[in-house]
Symmetry: C2
Subunit: 402 residues, 2 copies
């Protein structure tokens, strides 16, 4: 019998407890022994909970209980989640988490403590919610050099873009509907400005390269500038617009990561990922493209990934698995000059002016009067900026994926 604790009894924490309670026999079969939830840490009171004796407000109850071998940290936020996680790992307990903010910020240190103490710090639920991606990437694609990752990592923005594409809603209307549906927060900045996706691609970039990629170094654009006109042009090009977390792993060991809206050809499986769903496409040198698709958020999907991590931690008590990354020696961030994208650009300038500014561009039939729309050849950031500087106005500039 293994003893566990849950820190944070919000949406995900409630789901974790629910699965552990409803599925005792399956969890036991998978883990090789029953897993008993001994504590639930929350600052709030839950006097009506059927197991109210499990609740505590004192973290030390968990930390100082030698029986506890695995703790689910589903409280979110950086503090005190960081201090709690560090103390638990240092005391020889495994921790599993859905907290992308914490993993992206303090993952390097926490993974290092876990290795040193021969316990595990697992974070499958921090990227893609219930979608298995961290473990498959690490374990099943281990015979591959990872070349590229491209993911739809944020369900809120995917829902908004999908409503714009399929129902012709404006960005503002789609956002408002997402808020009504509970898919977007009242303050939606973290989602629509790309910060949530940025944390997730930072985690995937770190894991794939084995070296810490700091999310502060990742250029991040959101979808607030995307208009219905852009969406219509994309349709004409046989594309959809998606917010993509992208990483490419260069042969020199550097990593180029970015979050930005991109035009994606409809033949690409990522283009068919609709609504609030997430998907992560990983390109390996042997396996080619593989994609993992599913619910990127939500109580039970996320909780099911947390519980799977708890089971794996119990199976690997006192044996650290090699899911980790280290602090790199020096800067491994590739610059935007190391990567070329084709760009879709709209301008108030004439076709002649466009041709003078960009060679080899392909014009798109004009949906809006008095403007030119075109797709460039693949360009570095300097090259596209150089071309744009020769135009007198730019209405939109969106990268093309692939």
């Amino acid at each position: 019998m293994a003893k566990a604790a849950i820190m944070g009894f919000g949406t995900v924490g409630g789901g974790v407890y629910g699965i552990m309670d409803d599925s005792r026999s399956r969890v036991s079969l998978s883990a090789g022994e029953p897993i008993d939830v001994k504590y639930i840490l929350d600052i709030r009171d839950f006097p009506d909970h059927p197991r109210k004796e499990l609740f505590t407000k004192d973290f030390n109850d968990i930390l100082n209980d030698g029986e506890i071998t695995v703790v689910a940290e589903v409280m979110g936020g950086l503090h005190p989640a960081y201090e709690f996680t560090r103390a638990l790992l240092e005391s020889g307990k495994s921790v599993v988490t859905s907290n992308k903010e914490l993993v992206a910020t303090y993952g390097t240190e926490l993974l290092s403590i876990a290795r040193e103490k021969n316990v595990n710090y697992f974070f499958e639920a921090s990227v893609g919610g219930g979608i298995p991606v961290i473990r498959p990437m690490h374990q099943c694609l281990t015979a591959n050099n990872i070349i590229k990752i491209a993911g739809i990592l944020n369900g809120t923005t995917n829902y908004i873009l999908n409503e714009m594409i399929t129902k012709g809603k404006s960005f503002e209307d789609a956002l408002s509907d997402a808020q009504k549906m509970g898919y977007a927060e009242r303050n939606p900045a973290a989602d629509i400005e790309g910060h949530d996706a940025c944390r997730k691609i930072a985690i995937l970039s770190s894991l794939a390269s084995g070296k810490f990629v700091d999310y502060n170094d990742i250029p991040t654009e959101g979808i607030t500038e995307i208009t219905l006109d852009d969406v219509h042009y994309a349709t004409q090009l046989g594309c959809v617009i998606k917010l993509i977390g992208y990483a490419r792993f260069l042969e020199n060991g550097r990593v180029f990561s970015i979050v930005a809206p991109m035009l994606i050809d409809k033949s690409c499986p990522l283009a068919g990922v609709n609504g609030v769903m997430n998907a992560i496409m990983i390109t390996g040198d042997s396996v080619g493209d593989v994609m993992f698709y599913g619910a990127g958020a939500g109580q039970l999907p996320t909780a099911s990934a947390v519980v799977a991590d708890m089971i794996d931690a119990v199976k690997h008590t006192e044996r650290s698995k090699k899911i980790f990354w280290e602090k790199p020696d020096g800067d491994i961030t590739a610059s935007e000059e190391d990567e070329k994208f084709a760009y879709f650009i709209r301008t108030g300038d004439s076709a002649e002016a466009v041709r003078a500014a960009f060679k080899d561009c392909r014009f798109v039939e004009n949906a809006v009067a008095e403007e030119s729309a075109f797709v460039t050849r693949p360009l570095t950031k300097t090259e596209v900026n150089d071309g744009v500087s020769r135009l007198s106005s730019v209405i939109s500039r969106i990268r093309v994926f692939g």
Copy 2:
């Protein structure tokens, strides 16, 4: 340093050796120790191979070498692969395989021997080639009750159907082109009649239920009867036709599995799986739908899954992982009466005759003169047969997925 052997130096075996040789340091890092290929078993001579001293024609060289801890069986076919695998497991060596025929036929016994000897029999590459699915299903979805599996499990048939759908080729022309491209064998029966997909859904069904599902008990229809007219009707319905390996896990513990062409709504991610690609959608009670997509065949994708299994076997030497199924007590096969499908049906009969035979059916606009086309409500096999028996002719009858 772990010592390994490769049995069979065909396409996959060559890929396995190539990856092991090209990626020694990454394999070593992942496995925790280098893995050295000590033998390659093949009945043919390879006098020009740079490591020709590795080749042997004598299986006993591998069996009797106490240093060998893991063997990749990539020879294919049932015999002698079965006898070799059994002997290796019994002698305490782990075996990994891409041989779906062997896993689907003798998996129960081989997995049982592996457990008894505390070694592993891994078969990630037997379903979906390089796509991680066996291990993620077993490990990452372990907190879920698996409710349903639906997969595009055969690249050849998916290529043929895709050519029919996107290029308007007849089945015969698409098959002939698939053969020219090397996607279909000269004798294509195993693919186009659904037998290959049947072995794979049998493996997935067994793994998800924990009980052996015999492929001989799985109703299997191929795609040889699918015509361009069917494809055009599907388009009108907003669907594509795909060959689907399907399994549903009933609450009573029984398993309903089938292989058949099905109409799939274009909004379903499976509908966007084109060309020779494969995808497996798994529905869990907590996580909902997750989908795994990638190359279902090919030298390097398949070999990369075999090598990942070899690495996992080396990491788990003398510790059997719980990826297995057992022989069930009694029959767990659900009958076709336990599952309802909507059916797309074409008949030479009039709309009135159709209405008399099937209640609540939805007619499809008539692309072909002198026939009626319609979609039924969800029906059991007896119900649809009953309706069909009231018609004087049936041109097509295809299940609708979802």
